[in-house]
Symmetry: C2
Subunit: 343 residues, 2 copies
DNA sequence: CTGAAAGCGCTTACAG
DNA sequence: CTGAAAGCGCTTACAG
């Protein structure tokens, strides 16, 4: 049972492969195929269940109709849902999408980009890792369409869709200050990524603007790669050493999750002993008792904006060098973990 | 800046394309290429950063080195992590993977399978929807490798990796009975999928084996597609109408999440007023107060078993018709939501 | 030990 | 309005 080809269709209809190809590619009108011929071709295509061979088309045109999605971790709530929406939108536009997780590792990210390049993807959506600048610049130089999502690369001007991390962090900190908290601990990871530095800047500026003091006792940084257990221990230790803290700001949702475990470990009650807020929402924060106040990323908006931008670049409606960035505003969702502070 | 091809490499070395191809495909020894020639070729390939054109290779060999992963929802914890592991394993074996979410919709699933077929994937890992039997049988007839994951299709013998839903459900119910609960409500979705029917059977048999009575008051079924709000209302109503219930068994983790919201809505306290257990773990259940007892799916084991099985079928080490199913045992993780019942 | 050549299934410039 | 033919970049049977 051999697959049917354009040749088979053409032969059965006593016409040429050219005609069949024009019909398939919607060029009948432009190339002046008669409606009668067009119908004959379409009918037989349907009857024989003919589908053009994508490899042949790809070889001939150089376009694979495939996109590459490189995220930090497809198994996490944020990126999993980003991926779902991107895949649906890509599909609507005739694209399939390859995906891969970098686990925030430079070498993995580089390998994945090159692997996908060998499969000739038509464009990328990339969650950059810290040392990815050269690799991404290479894409730019070779004129391969891409869009950065969720995080920028310092000193690299390009197309991106990111969250306004500074503003979200500033507003979330301000929310705590307005509710009477004065000794706020900011717990983040060691990172040069602007995503992290912006969140820290937003926190610091909100504190200073609120007339509050800042010392190193307000900051804890942990290693991203550290195991859950060791991170929880670090946080617990920090809490034990800084008993004057009345609120905690976790810079990512997985830090928040670990932080909540750490608080249980040292027997601190949220929100009676200490208030808690976190950057990034997830199901858990909504349903925990108490529920957790967050700065939430509009996932749907970020995903659709980035795939639309990538398709525009691929279709050359937007130049790769045009540097049209989208900065999405996060939303502060006030929940039970940050009530007005009791006197 | 044109991409370098095998022809360029051959010309520069004054050798033939054949020789270059043999070297690239590791056939030097078998075809008797001299070590000196082989080294010359390899060095130039590295120097010119040559990568074989995948489209040409695909057209010629009929193999795309691409797999299709069709899951219910890549954005959910279980499938997102399944996807991550499958992608990593596939990559190790030289495959890229396309993914798509069915949202448990038959038409979407059929469309996705056919779309991927047109991109000539070499094999599929599929989370079946209820009406997917014909489509999957077609794959079988055309000898296209695939493995079902997470759920079977009734009356269809094939390769699969699933959870032992019956045993997990039986054991989880038994755990409640041993702890003194007698009026247990089983909350599930309308579904013909064996996954669901097995869970219900496990529950019912454990109840009967425990000498407990069963009536329709022990069962609530909701629509999968129903919105969160309407599902929560249904559950809340069920609870109000069945005040004698002392424990709830949620048949999936998203039902568990909604159920917890419903319990808050009708002011029932876990575990003082009512115990709760759920099938499928997630981060939330571990961190909620109280934490939730679950039957947990070994995600890593399910993912690796399924990709290994698919690769075996592709490499013809296992026949598609061989029907080698793997049934993975779930683990009961006892947490705070199901203590011994107070007198 | 190595090379010339056919052919995978398309698209498209060219010819009529 | 439609067709014959080149060519995309590989793999591999065949020849020597």
């Amino acid at each position: 049972m051999k697959k049917v080809s354009m040749k088979d269709i053409a032969k059965e209809l006593n016409t040429s492969i050219t005609t069949v190809s024009f019909v398939i590619n919607g060029k009948s009108a432009a190339m002046g195929i008669s409606p009668a011929t067009e119908k004959k071709v379409r009918d037989l295509i349907k009857k024989r269940e003919f589908n053009p061979n994508s490899a042949a088309r790809m070889l001939r045109t150089g376009k694979s109709k495939t996109l590459g999605l490189i995220v930090e971790d497809i198994g996490n709530f944020f990126f999993g849902n980003i991926a779902k929406i991107i895949e649906i939108e890509a599909n609507k536009n005739g694209y399939n999408v390859f995906f891969s997780s970098t686990e925030n590792n430079d070498e993995t990210a580089k390998r994945l980009i090159n692997k996908m390049r060998n499969s000739s993807v038509d464009g990328y959506i990339i969650t950059a890792t810290q040392g990815l600048k050269d690799e991404v610049m290479k894409l730019g130089k070779e004129n391969i369409p891409f869009v950065l999502i969720d995080r920028l690369i310092p000193d690299l001007e390009t197309n991106y869709v990111i969250l306004d991390n500074y503003q979200g962090s500033y507003n979330l900190t301000n929310h705590l200050i307005e509710r009477g908290y004065k000794n706020i601990g900011f717990i983040s990871i060691y990172s040069e990524m602007t995503m992290m530095t912006e969140r820290e800047k937003g926190f610091s500026n909100a504190m200073l603007d609120g007339g509050l003091q800042l010392s190193e006792k307000n900051f804890l940084k942990v290693q991203f790669a550290a195991s859950g257990a060791s991170t929880i221990n670090h946080i617990a230790e920090f809490l034990s050493n800084n008993t004057e803290l009345d609120a905690l700001f976790f810079a990512t949702n997985y830090l928040g999750v670990m932080g909540i475990e750490a608080l249980q470990k040292v027997n601190l009650n949220i929100p009676n002993d200490i208030a808690v807020v976190s950057f990034d929402d997830n199901d858990l924060f909504r349903l925990l008792t108490p529920s957790i106040t967050v700065a939430s990323q509009p996932i749907h908006e970020m995903a659709t904006k980035s795939i639309e931008m990538l398709l525009r670049i691929i279709k050359k409606e937007q130049r790769l060098t045009e540097n049209r960035g989208e900065v999405i505003k996060p939303e502060i969702i006030v929940r039970e973990s940050s009530p007005f502070k009791k006197a």
